[in-house]
Amino acid sequence: MAESTVILEELNRLAPPAELRRAPVVENNRGLGALTDKLSEFAEGKIPRWWWILFIPSAFCAMVVLPMALIYQVSTGVGVWGNNQPVAWGLDIVSFIWWVGVAHAGTLISALLFLTRQHWRTTIGRAAEAMTVFSVMMAGLYPAIHVGRAWFDWFMFPIPNSNGLWPQFRSPLMWDVFAVNTYLMVSTLFWLMGMIPDFAVMRDRAVTRPRKFIFSLLAMGWTGSARQWHHYEKAYVVLCGLCTLLVFTVSSIVGLDFCTSMLAGWHATIFPLYFVIGAVFCGFGMMLVLLVPLRKWCGLENIITMSHMDKVAKLTLVSGLIIAYIYAIEFFIAWYSGDPYERWVFGHRLFGHTYWFLGWTLIAVNVCVTQLLWFKKIRANLTALFIIGVLINIGMWTERFVIVVGSLYQDFLPANWGKYIPTRWDVALYIGSLGAFFMMYLLFVKFLPLVAIAEVKGATPQGNPHHPLGGAKGKP
């Protein structure tokens, strides 16, 4: 130890000024064993009170409100929603895009930041992936019932049948089916595979027999041998690459649902990218909403450090800036194209009737509030981050509403103009899906490894065989 202290001191002298020092991945470092204890502590401990306080209402929404809304809608028909001509896509599609969006940041954090070797992602990656998995589930719910006859959903799969029906692969809605299902499967698979080594940790720590049984089953016999890690790491890189592609693909396809049509306000070549970035932005907002309380209540302040929160906030800012750019481009192209319909639609987003305030809301929140994140003080203030996260989610929800309803309610013929007011069943379904999401998320938080234990350990200096703290001898 003495030798390495000398080296550390020497390095300290050469290091940049304190303000430019790199923050450690995990604070208050006490070695690998203590880290393992810390990270598995919450999943093994008693269920705290705050958990019940959050869980019971979420479970109520998921177990009572959601089934009620679903059963009533499926048995009665889509007429129970506010959808009608000319607004045939209402809250169901708005919420669908919103949920898909929430999912994206999770994949981006865990996959893209892995590929760019951002070690800090190890602490929040798992929480982000879980967010992805559960919100894609919620997203998938909407198109399945939006079709109106949910029992005919099998039409969307290539099963030979006497109807002579094959899926119509030229339809963007069909691509949605592929995209959302693939996204769900790949993100679940990615999430579960990432957890295998941590399941092994839980297995080895398990005291009770049922617990040992469950985690033995989940860990699938993981031993952590070098050969296993060797294949595992390769598979992980491949999955990360694929997930990064998926981030771009899934939302692009959702964007194509809109822009392949010729409706003013929908048809723009930037729409695929627009939806990708909007999704990521919204997801980062949700990430802030989830991480701020989690790190406090689960006692993870030293793991999910303020530096990590700062980085998530910066990523939020980046995606928010791109969104602002795309808004600007949308309005610019509406003007530049000289198309009277386009100009009309975009003028009416801000100065029209019925929904004008929503247009201003999304500019106020998505464009203006996001700019607060330029300031270091705001990024260091957890309350502010939480509020901004909530606002971004509201703002992005509004954005989808403006896109979906704003372009539909006044189409090319004034005789067709109408309004869209969501009914209580629209709202109930949305609340139910929120409840289901939070219920599943809370279950995950309590019972599964919330932080990628193995990955975090590998990212600490104690896990680095070339670092003095990792046991390396000699000069670095």
Binding site: W154, I159, P160, S162, N163, L165
Partner: protein
């Protein structure tokens, strides 16, 4: 250690199980969820024991006598009680089986017939355009003139419609013979097929039969 050694065999069974389940689901859907299973053979009990076999078959009443709008409207009408009473005010006047018809006639209330053939709301089907261009009732409804109680004879699935739309010449016949359900070009099967081929092509051409295959032809 919680698992005995034999459990290491389980992974090899998983893919087999998955394949079996997947295959079973697909096969089950194919067999049980499609109109061939869900529609064909449907034969509800009607409120009045009306026999098409007697009326259309034995007595030779033309379809259009009762379903009078079939040539002019997208909808083939169900006869009002007054149509029945044209004859039944004289024939089988007091038959108890016709009590409901008489009641309907006097009270001006509809007879609660149970609809047998139905296309979903998302399908637009026009009877008149088919009948007027020489497509017989029998193509979709089967030999109703031989049915005591009407049952669903054909699947009316999408591919059923498209089979005809793709090759109308194989099904078209002289418009006068549309309601003659047993009509054939010839009693000789080979000759009938030949005549169908030659005449079918001519009819389709001469009468400008446009059997559309685009989605919006039916799903409009």
């Amino acid at each position: 250690m919680i698992f005995p050694k034999w459990t290491n065999q389980i992974p090899f069974l998983i893919p087999i199980g998955l394949a079996l389940v997947g295959g079973a689901v697909a096969a089950g859907v194919t067999v049980y969820c499609t109109p061939k299973n869900t529609r064909v053979g449907y034969q509800p009990v009607q409120p009045v024991p009306f026999s098409h076999a007697v009326h259309a078959g034995q007595l030779g009443v033309d379809c259009r006598y009762c379903h009078s709008t079939v040539e002019k409207s997208w909808f083939s009408s169900i006869p009002a009680a007054s149509t029945c009473m044209n004859c039944h005010s004289l024939i089988l006047k007091d038959d108890p089986r016709l009590a409901l018809v008489r009641e309907s006639f006097t009270n001006n209330t509809p007879i609660p017939w149970v609809q047998v053939h139905i296309v979903p709301d998302y399908v637009y089907f026009n009877h008149s355009v088919h009948v007027a261009r020489g497509f017989s009732c029998v193509e979709c409804h089967g030999r109703v003139d031989q049915m005591d109680e009407v049952h669903h004879a054909k699947s009316l699935s999408m591919s059923f419609c498209l089979d005809c739309h793709r090759n109308p010449a194989a099904f078209i016949r002289p418009p006068g013979k549309v309601t003659d359900l047993g009509w054939q070009w010839s009693t000789n099967a080979a000759e009938a097929a030949k005549l169908q081929e030659v005449n079918g092509k001519n009819f389709v051409h001469d009468w400008r039969v446009e059997s559309l295959q685009s989605c919006s032809a039916c799903h409009r």
